[in-house]
Symmetry: C3
Subunit: 142 residues, 3 copies
């Protein structure tokens, strides 16, 4: 459900760093939804392809995220989420002297399929099965 | 109008496969809108840049789509669309043993230009001309 | 706030062109918001990865934009924006014989952080400080 797209400078992250970020994010989302919902795509951007305020910025991490499975239900949840995510990313980004920006969009739950299935709604038995099995299967509810 | 972005493993598709997918998609949308609205961008993602559930996934196709020209007007149309699209993609994806996920966002019609023109509204004479000529030209209605 | 993503053919732009585009865009947005809000990412797409209407299109520029900090408050502002942007891009795109398409989505202001801070709301003293200093700092309002 969440698709994370991370634009970063060349050589900003090792393969271990990238796996570490993906696993930390999966740790957050995986408490309340199937782990395999969490997709993370890293993309190197060379300095001459990446501009902040009209100037090349060789130390910038730009992240955009699509949330599909859940929307924030309160301001408190929303603020906690961003606080937590920024803390989680700090060892990879802020603590290494990178600047960074992150924005999330919420896209329609009903316009989403995995393995051709419409994913189950939150809190259903189907969703529990998807979490327990960590894989997609036919939805049994409307 | 639809912009399809397809992240795929290295060497998942040949040039013919990619053209085949783009043409099949154009076949769907082109029945009701100008064919040149259909943009498809393929992007190879190496295994160490692509994580599902916190693990590298060497056989995953992740697709995101922006719909601009049309929004789904009923649940039936929506379900039919996804059913049809997943069937169309099967020979390229499911039948080859890839896993895949697809989500669509609907973005504002009025925040869209082609060749500097605001595209015509659905069902207008302008839109019929765009379809017939398969190219953009000045819109004559508000 | 605005994140511009520009897909373009290989060698469509020099580094100077890309900087020129980023600076022109920053010139537009920077009149009303901090300049460092403006992120522009260029991405080369080879001909066999880029399809318009089901065919490879070697001279196509496809741009998608996420607007976060502001939404259009009137039709007039909206039309002026697109007119202005298309004029600004003309020397790099239309005047060189490229075709191009551009669409904008508006994503939630409250789901956005820079350097871990929620950016200040429009018109606040905090925003004026961010503009004057051209950098992020703690927001002092709710």
């Amino acid at each position: 459900m969440p698709l994370w797209k991370i634009y970063h400078p060349v050589d900003a992250f090792t393969a271990d760093d990238k796996k570490g970020i993906a696993q930390a994010l999966t740790g957050i989302y995986g408490r309340v939804m199937p782990k395999f919902y969490v997709g993370v795509v890293f993309q190197e951007v060379t300095e001459d392809n990446f501009y902040i305020g009209g100037e090349p910025h060789p130390r910038f991490i730009r992240i955009w995220v699509d949330h599909i499975a859940r929307t924030f239900q309160s301001d408190e949840m929303r603020v906690n989420f961003f606080t937590y995510v920024n803390k989680l990313l700090a060892p990879f980004i802020a603590d290494r002297g990178f600047d960074w920006e992150l924005h999330v969009d919420e896209t329609p739950f009903d316009l989403w399929t995995i393995q051709g299935y419409f994913p189950p709604r939150e809190g259903t038995e189907d969703e529990k099965r998807w979490m327990a099995e960590n894989k997609a299967s036919a939805r049994t509810h409307d």
